[in-house]
């Protein structure tokens, strides 16, 4: 059986894929926090550009995949931009230049600028979000959390095992909603669907827990099949991230 490198493997072996997920996560969060402190349009543009470029070049994320992840972004950015602009207190300021007046609505220049800046902030956050999600392998993240983050391993691997149930819970949800249609009920969303899903989920959780116990999950002193060590690559990634952070601060 020939092992054909899959798309996921290409990402996993890329520089960003091999980097410690805790490092990339810390950087991503640092950028988010820094973005929250500015309403200049340049920092979010910088972050967006870096995130997308890094994902494509250093993460080997397929462009189509990245584009698909970014697709919902426009709606969210427009929504945030719109509300910030329209509900800004600057609109009530009589000294500000009016850009648009429509009935009782007054849109002033500073409010519009703020709206654009915040819309761009959303673009940046989503770009970082999609890029990070696409380069991060959940198992790798869990290993790093346990081995470097000192997270209790029963919780970390218990969580990882529960995440494996996602496809089946999604099917259960579809089946529960289809059942409502087949009984002549037009609304396929109902609290009972949630009850049904939780019943199936808890039963599945019970089975999973027994299976894990049967494989020695609760024994003390578990050994490790995969080791995560801090490498030079990780230091490089952190330094690069700090450089971008400095850029954000400088551009404010």
């Amino acid at each position: 059986m020939i092992a054909v490198p899959t798309r996921a493997d290409r990402v996993a072996t890329s520089p960003l894929g091999r980097a410690n997920p805790l490092a990339t996560l810390a950087i991503a969060i640092a950028w988010l926090v820094a973005l929250a402190t500015t309403t200049d349009v340049r920092p979010p543009l910088l972050v967006t550009a870096v995130a997308i470029a890094a994902a494509l070049a250093l993460g080997r994320v397929p462009p189509a995949d990245l584009a698909r992840g970014l697709a919902p972004l426009w709606l969210a950015a427009l929504s945030v931009g719109f509300f910030n602009a329209v509900l800004s207190p600057a609109n009530a300021d009589p000294t500000a230049t009016v850009v648009l007046a429509f009935g009782p609505l007054r849109l002033t220049e500073p409010a519009l600028a703020a709206g654009i800046a915040l819309g761009l902030r959303v673009v940046a956050i989503v770009a970082v979000g999609v890029a990070w999600s696409r380069i991060t392998d959940p198992t790798h993240l869990t290993d790093a959390l346990v081995q470097q983050g000192r997270l209790a391993d029963r919780f970390a691997y218990g969580a990882l095992a529960a995440l494996q149930a996602i496809p089946w819970l999604a099917e259960d949800l579809v089946a529960l909603r289809e059942a409502r249609r087949m009984r002549g009920l037009r609304s396929t969303w109902h609290p009972r669907v949630l009850v049904g899903l939780l019943v199936l989920a808890i039963r599945r959780g019970d089975r999973l827990a027994v299976a894990m116990d049967a494989r020695g999950f609760t024994a003390a002193g578990r050994t490790r099949y995969r080791i995560v060590r801090w490498a030079t690559l990780d230091t490089v990634v952190v330094l690069a991230g700090l450089a971008v952070l400095a850029g954000i601060v400088a551009l404010r």
Partner: protein
Amino acid sequence: MSSAPIAGPAVPEARWRTRDIVVTAVIGVAFGVVFWAWGLAWSPIEAALGPARFLFYAVWLVPAVLAPLIVRRPGAALFAEMLAAAVSTLIGSQWGPDTLLSGFVQGAAAELVFAFTLYRAWSFPVLALAAIASAAAAWVHDWVLYFPQIDPAAIILFGVLMAISAVAIVAGGSLFLVRALRQAGVLEGFPGGAP
């Protein structure tokens, strides 16, 4: 929706069994899946609501109250909420680390309320308080990150609406769900499963 106090065991069992860990996690995962599926259909409307999107959002806070109500152990709120966030990060993952951040603050806020009661009080007022705390965390997060330029009066208004919907949907919903789950017999062996 009962307002009678629901007493927990006299000395809360602090040690997590495998079953407690996995079931708490899976509850978070189930909500993550629901949130994703619902979002597929409703995201245009959610975007159109802007800061009032919390009206849809409330479902996502339920694990932070439901899971502790079932397993009654320290850390359940945070753990379940982080799992729901992890699911959102993995599928439909446009928000990435921001989702994890949201999940963390929302879970931690509810956790603080339960910790304050030493994990012994599970009556409706306590659940409502945890729900409000969680919603408040979400409110602050959204305000700082996404809606900092909005008139503070509007923000306050949205905050009040979020608190009300949190109490109804999150606290009320958790009680409804626990009762339904208990009647279905899946909560045997959990502290929250004893009527």
